[in-house]
Subunit: 766 residues, 2 copies
């Protein structure tokens, strides 16, 4: 793997321009603010390979489901992430020649993503075919303070007198790369260009999402406001302003674009356009620099808690900060209707915004390092979609308020349409319940349970109770026709992970019901009434299932069996596979993959990770030893779980090897698909590998537990954690661990089974 982007603790740096890498760089340098975001498309015209992408949270397109054999229960549509109005483009013509970086000589090119301040900078020096030398600088950001605001400052100088034609564009005439025959998903609403103001409103062809993008531009030449005439023009879905002027050698031109993007996701339809127009006028009263400074301060504050330092490995330091940065760019917890798409605001692949990745990987990240209200928003998101999950289960024949959360969704409706996933990869329901448990364990905050969480648990428990069946012959409950986390097996019976989490959901729901009934009888009575809970008979049924749930176990290997029939496979470890066969998903036919023993991502081990206290360390070791050699980690969500478990069982070499596979996945284009966008949700994995894996951090019953090791490749590392929103700093080096109570409350924690109490402001060293 060649490291194309330069190592730096706080920046991602591209030094020199390689047009072959352009689409990858566009992904890597993506910026956003949790509500909107954008790929790092060059501002100027570019005729080389590029994937233009601008995305607005919550706005999607319902693309009609097309399958070979329609199956009952399939969703009508697939919610496509929508490429939307492109606000940061311009066309620069100098002495009649268009500036196009794929057609001119580039003397220098330097791009940096300043993660500490959340800003994208570029400096380049180019020589046009007509001989004119230009130096260009651009700075772009999405405000972390005003979430509808984004801005560009674009400066340039020429080395000789020349005539300039600079066209500033707001372009709503965009198509998704994956749309059929360049079909546009947007209809024209209105566009205007008048003086310094431009404005484009477009509406999705289906669902009528309205998006208004308003822009106010400032053009200065050597600090003087440009006084010449603009030519304002519009065409369908496009607004333009063209400035023509003569430029003297070394004079500096600065174009600033203040942009507001408002959508009907956030505003009543009738106010969307006026909101965009009015807000941009207000915002443009302050300078670009003022807005940037405010946004930078907000980023700096975020880093105060979110940062993880690594000493002795700049590349690791950079990668981890990058992953943390991108996660915070994707999700800020402002709006409980938004979630964390697998590509965030960096690409259009996959569609939908929410997978089980959110609960399994992202929530633990936010839980440790962000105020608990952010994690709570993720829980509330699911409660708001409970009705849809119940509808979804009903479509599949479930009754009595059973809920099946979708595999992929934008608004609560399922939008995946392959039966082995849509109908069978149901373990996602378990992860959603587990997230509630995890949140309460960490925060001690029961409020979500009372405000909807118990209903969510109940819907999920009811689903499992109906999804298992009693086998008369074996006198036990089995669960057939499922796809586990390892998607390289479809439609199996008795997937250990799925059955285990199903059983756990029933137990946990029972527990929560009982606690709520005791502590909050009045609220509980209301919930029971609303959900028509037949408490005795339902719970008796659950108890029978809990007591008789079949969980496959192999007495010879003394390991849990991934699912029925797994042990009858050819058990050839991955290291005996020829290089030419990898990755399997590109080299083998699907039936061969399915028949093989190879595991795409942690499955039994995912269960051990979630429920570690249910099993002794020897069980961990045996199962890890058995399954790890068959795991190909062809999902970006896999290595982190293996890394954490390896650290737990003391196999630090394996833990570090697995950590490396997740840490620089996108920065080094490990999966050869970074051009499509970033693997946002799996970025949480590298954080968890460090904090839970190396740091051995767990929070149980609101108590912090630490069991840290420092990888031998590092001098030290440190991270912060919020315990009851009380910050704690943990520093681990090769010899010692230091814990600093940065908050205002007492802190009790365990260090390798030793219990320690720390007063506010105090430090402890091992």
């Amino acid at each position: 793997m060649i490291q194309y982007f330069k190592a730096d603790p706080w920046k991602i740096i591209e030094d020199g321009f390689n047009p072959e890498m352009n689409e990858i760089a566009e992904s890597i340098f993506s910026i956003g603010n949790g509500m909107m975001g954008q790929r790092a498309n060059l501002e100027e015209d570019f005729s080389g390979k590029t994937l233009q992408g601008t995305y607005v949270g919550g706005v999607y397109y319902p693309d009609k489901t097309r399958v070979g054999w329609w199956k009952n229960g399939y969703p009508e549509y697939f919610a496509k992430v929508l490429n939307s109005t492109y606000w940061s483009g311009l066309t620069l013509v100098i002495n009649g020649e268009i500036v196009d970086l794929s057609k001119i000589k580039i003397a220098s090119f330097y791009r940096e993503l300043d993660m500490f301040n959340g800003v994208l900078n570029r400096r380049s020096t180019v020589t046009l075919n007509n001989g004119i030398q230009l130096s260009i600088e651009s700075t772009r950001f999405y405000s972390l303070v005003n979430k509808e605001y984004s801005a560009l400052r674009y400066r340039f100088k020429a080395n000789q007198n020349c005539s300039i034609e600079l066209t500033n564009i707001i372009d709503g005439n965009v198509v998704n790369k994956d749309s059929n025959y360049d079909e546009s998903f947007w209809n024209e609403v209105s566009q205007e260009s008048r003086d310094k103001e431009m404005f484009v409103a477009v509406k999705t062809k289906k669902l009528d999402w309205l998006l208004a993008t308003a822009c106010i531009s400032e053009l200065t030449i050597d600090g003087e406001t440009h006084s010449g005439q603009n030519k304002n023009s519009t065409s369908s879905k496009i607004a333009q302003t063209t400035y023509k002027f003569d430029l003297k050698s070394k004079q500096e031109v600065i174009l600033v674009k203040h942009v507001i993007s408002s959508s009907s996701f956030h505003h009543p339809e009738e106010t969307v356009i006026s909101n965009a127009q009015n807000t941009v006028r207000k915002m443009s009263a302050s300078s670009f620099e003022t807005h940037l400074e405010m946004s930078s301060k907000a980023w700096n504050a975020k880093w105060e808690m979110a940062d993880v330092t690594i000493e002795g490995d700049v590349s690791a330091q950079q990668a981890l900060r990058y992953n943390i940065f991108q996660l915070h760019q994707t999700y800020c917890g402002d709006d409980p209707r938004l979630n964390i798409g697998p590509k965030g605001y960096t690409g259009e692949k996959y569609g939908g915004s929410t997978y089980w990745d959110t609960e399994a990987y992202c929530l633990p990240f936010f839980l440790v390092s962000s105020p608990s209200k952010i994690s709570k928003q993720l829980l509330i998101y699911r409660y708001k979609q409970l009705d849809r999950a119940i509808e979804n289960a009903e479509k599949l024949g479930f009754t009595n308020g059973a809920a099946l959360y979708p595999m992929v969704t934008m608004n609560g409706e399922e939008c995946h349409n392959e039966w082995e996933i849509t109908f069978e990869e149901i373990h996602r329901n378990g992860a959603i319940a587990y997230a509630i448990y995890h949140y309460i364990e960490h925060t001690g905050d029961n409020s979500y349970l009372l405000e909807g969480g118990l209903e969510v648990l109940l819907g999920i428990a009811r689903f499992w109770a109906q999804r298992v069946h009693w086998t008369e012959k074996k006198q036990r409950y089995e669960m057939h026709g499922v796809t586990g986390p390892n998607e390289y097996e479809n439609n199996v019976n008795n997937n250990w992970y799925t059955s285990y989490i199903a059983k756990w959901c029933l137990k946990y729901t029972k527990e929560c019901i009982s606690n709520t009934q005791n502590k909050f009888p009045k609220i509980f009575a209301e919930i029971a009434k609303k959900t028509k809970l037949s408490i005795e008979s339902e719970i008796a049924n659950w108890r029978h299932i809990i007591e008789n749930m079949y969980l496959p176990y192999d007495p010879e290997e003394q390991v849990f069996v991934q699912h029925d029939g797994f042990m009858e496979k050819e058990l050839i470890p991955v290291n005996q596979l020829a290089e030419i066969d990898r990755p399997l998903n590109q080299k083998w036919s699907w039936d061969r993959i399915l028949r093989s023993v190879y595991i795409k991502q942690a499955d039994v081990l995912q269960g051990l990770y979630f429920f570690e206290d249910d099993f002794d360390i020897e069980t961990h070791k045996r199962n890890f030893k058995f399954y790890e050699p068959f795991t190909v980690h062809e999902s970006s969500l896999s290595p982190c779980v293996h890394s954490i478990l390896a650290a737990k069982i003391g196999n630090m070499d394996k833990a570090y090897e697995m950590y490396l596979r997740t840490a620089r996945l996108d920065l080094d284009n490990y999966n050869n698909d970074t051009e499509d966008g970033l693997h946002i949700t799996s970025m949480a994995g590298s954080y968890l590998s460090v904090v839970q894996g190396f740091g051995g951090l767990r929070v149980k019953n609101q108590t912090l537990h630490l069991n840290p090791v420092c990888p031998k490749h590092w001098k030290s590392y440190s991270f912060k954690i919020l315990m009851s929103n009380n910050p704690v700093n943990i520093i681990v080096n090769q010899n010692q661990t230091k814990v600093q109570n940065l908050g205002e409350k007492n802190l009790t924690f365990t260090y390798k089974n030793q219990t320690i109490s720390l007063n506010p402001g105090d430090n402890w060293e091992s």
Copy 2:
């Protein structure tokens, strides 16, 4: 089920016109000659519901595969059956009013498909909105003698003097109903209309299939050739001739269309057009009536052998003849590149032309009732596609000449694209091998083995040898990841039927190799060289598999287990299902179907049917008793197997019940989808139910075995069979069976274990 079409032993009759039934009638009255065919679209303009369809064997369109998640090994395209140039249409305008049966008063309407003569007749009397009364008669057929020839005779009279504008059309401007956004699959080549001749040539947009349709028309008025002017015209892909004349009351107009359709499937591309034009000129030298008579005689001769009579049940008689008729319309064995599409030439649904239906159901039909060369063509078809089957297996990672025949194909390439079918429903390979065995058992003709059959068997055997795997733990071969004939289970392990037929294929191929080696050492040496057969090591490997193949068995129930895990399902019989849940495939979600015990079509029982002599009658009874209650027969291919087995085990009520489900499937629109076209391949099932089921007919080692019963609903039934191309007639009534040796060779047969010898011309009675 309302019987819309009138019962008649030799005709299908529609008496009265119901526009709601039009599309169903269009399917039912379809005509063809094994090379081409057509739905029974009304000749005149019709603005009601209609599915226009004209099909030419071998000509198809490669529609691009579109799936959610592309899997390695998926075919690039799906071979779509092509709707092609429509030759039998006309526009009739009387006193300015277009004759359109959906807009005028119909006094009488009578349509009959005369199966004995292979001709479609229609008579109707209508009153136009302008008051003119018309009587119309049309007669249409596809010649069974000259396969490119089809013809129409259209007569009419008016009850008063009127002006006529009659436009005769050849229309190549057709689209498939299932094409996206009315996309046309045909490009214009050329069209002409001159005097009595019309001509349209079109070419498919992909693959460049050329189709030329040439027509010569004759128009007479009261027997006199029309002497007025024609107006000839053409537009893109259309040729027309318009006749304008004044008609006197009661004068009879007769329009005859002689049509030749030639395609580049049958002719070198450069001669297609000239062949169509020259042939139609030659053909039009003889009258419509002469051609019809020749074709009728050919049909009469076909019936000589093919007919099955049933006395005492006109409706059963009609249905059985209808099924036989449609099978012969679809396949005549003239061309080894053609096969039997599931909808024949009666609709465009499904695509592809060849499924395992051919070998499993259609071949046994032709084997009994047609000269053996017809069946042999079906075998040759597969040999011609062996290279593609080997390529197909290679795409899935198989080596050493292993062959996987496609699930659906037009030219040997797979064109289905759902992994659980394409990659896993591999039992089709077994049926193709079984067909070779069956053919040889029946005919004693080993020639196919030497001419390619052995290579086919070898490719199939090699596939199975690689598709199984050795399980170290269980010390046996297992086969994982398959879909059996019961498609309501996907991706199962150790499907009994598939594993059994795989093992059988290995045994049979071993036997054939050994026999060929002994009897034809020279030819064998050539085959061994060509196929790079390592005879000792390969056969040793096969022997090991044969001896150690796992075939799941339940010792408690003493039945074969459909596949691993089947017995752990909820074993609730079909008769306990609520009516509202049926049919499952319209009412239940796919996961629920998969998890349920319900069987779409015979699976274990299909194996008992194929390999009956491997099992005693008690085994048959136990397995039938166990599986039949779980079978929903939602495939049209299912009831016949159950009917035959029920008859075998003496359960005549069940046998008759199952026979009824297959007999009038289309005539009574049992599956509510006849409008899409007929279920051609399953039509063989009702024939087999009678002949193999009630008649107890088997042919083993070229010896005829009979074990007949007459259903109590019938007086008697009779059928013919060819033994070594020697006709034998079998008549069964309630008390007695009569066997007539109609041929010129001695006949030895068994009747209920009694061996009988019959001289040529002799009869025997039980």
